[in-house]
């Protein structure tokens, strides 16, 4: 670039290396980007496990992902005022460290999301009804999938819908703070509906 000679000299930085670095970064993120399966919810904090294997290189064509998200919220008293933690920890700190718990001031809201269904949200005290809603939703999903298989396969035109076998795997991505029983009940419902395989998704444990 031409420097304008009017008294003080202008120093124009050489932008070429900057552009090169920017292009390298763009290439890196383009290669690494993974337009993740819509069914996966990034808000779920998965536990770690050493029992798990690598994801199969090709994603199965028909999978049903059940996301169970747990969100910590400030509890409010009867007057609607936020209850503060007796140890003086701010909500932000409590949220960052899932193990630290302040039973007095926090409540958990569980959200179950899958297959384009409306999210099912409930607090701990309403878990029974939340679970029932989720089970009913699974029944609907299984019925819809069977109906879709029947429509797409002409050989099954004369087969009753409830006798059609499902081939989809179920993948359960449960937040680390989910209650064990909730996950098992949902698994039970999936097995009842005839889903042949159920998998858990976890984070890879660090090598020790």
């Amino acid at each position: 670039m031409a420097a304008v000679s009017q008294g003080a000299e202008r120093l124009d930085p050489d932008l070429t290396p900057l552009l090169d670095v920017v292009m390298q970064l763009i290439m890196f993120f383009m290669m690494c980007i993974n337009f993740v399966n819509e069914q996966v919810n990034a808000n779920v904090l998965l536990p770690t496990s050493t029992s798990a294997q690598e994801l199969p290189p090709k994603t199965e064509a028909d999978i049903l992902v059940i996301n169970i998200e747990v969100e910590r919220q400030e509890k409010k008293d009867a007057a609607g005022k936020v209850m503060f933690d007796s140890r003086g920890l701010a909500l932000r700190e409590l949220k960052l460290y899932p193990r630290r718990e302040a039973p007095d001031s926090l409540q958990r809201k569980t959200k179950i999301l899958f297959a384009g269904q409306k999210p099912i949200e409930f607090l701990e005290e309403q878990e029974g009804s939340g679970l029932s809603q989720a089970q009913l939703a699974l029944v609907r999903v299984a019925k819809d999938r069977r109906a879709a298989i029947k429509r797409s396969n002409s050989k099954m035109a004369n087969v009753p819908v409830d006798k059609i076998q499902l081939s989809e795997s179920v993948i359960i991505r449960a937040d680390m703070e989910t209650r064990y029983g909730l996950v098992i009940r949902l698994m039970g419902q999936c097995a009842k509906e005839g889903f042949p395989k159920i998998n858990f998704r976890v984070n890879r444990a660090a090598q020790q």
Binding site: N34, P47, E177, M187, C190
Partner: protein
């Protein structure tokens, strides 16, 4: 007038120049970079594994495939010999809900070992240490029992309390599945584990 003439001349010469305007290009490059930074998801860290439920109590007997009778082998499959029962702490007072209270190892219905883990009132660091130590104890016990009394194809039934945290239950699952020998190599303990919940009215559920 002369100054305006000079500015006009300068502007005109800039337009006649073949130099490239880099500023808009940089702007676009940063826009692209910002887009990819915000949409980047490190999802490759996720891994998965298949699981199976114990029959009945977990709320789901597997629906048999249509028009297929269960094979005689499946119908007479005996229940697992080994069971590990993980009970959650009683959620009373300041006890932290969802923590692991006790671990019980049963062989054919008889309690082989009962390990007390936590009463829920420890600090996080102390609880983590306790959990690690108690799970190591469970692994040692399972190794001993498998070596002395069991066959290689035996399955394990893992029953846990309803209110046990998912994270904790995964750690118990891992301890039942694999262990490390003296040289740090992983060995399989029970590759086939069936999951179940404790009946709701039982302590620790």
């Amino acid at each position: 007038m002369a100054r305006r003439h000079r500015i006009a001349f300068k502007a005109e010469s800039e337009f006649n120049s073949t130099a490239v305007f880099i500023t808009p290009m940089l702007d676009m490059a940063f826009q692209l970079l910002t887009f990819f930074v915000f949409t980047y998801h490190p999802s490759q860290l996720e891994v998965q594994f298949p699981v199976s439920l114990a029959a009945a109590e977990a709320g789901g007997e597997k629906r048999p495939p249509p028009d297929k009778k269960p094979s005689p082998v499946e119908a007479t499959k005996p229940p697992p010999v080994v069971s590990v029962i993980a009970r959650a702490v009683d959620a009373k007072g300041k006890a932290v809900k969802g923590r692991l209270g006790t671990l019980e190892l049963r062989i054919s219905g008889t309690t082989e070992k009962l390990i007390r883990v936590s009463d829920g009132s420890e600090t996080d660091e102390r609880y983590d240490d306790l959990l690690r130590a108690r799970l190591a104890e469970l692994e040692d016990e399972l190794k001993r029992v498998k070596k002395e009394r069991l066959q290689s194809e035996d399955r394990l039934l893992m029953q846990a309390g309803y209110s046990l945290r998912w994270d904790e239950s995964m750690r118990v699952f891992d301890s039942c599945r694999k262990t490390k020998d003296k040289n740090g190599r992983e060995t399989e303990l029970f590759p086939k584990i069936e999951l179940d919940t404790l009946p709701l009215r039982q302590p620790g559920s």
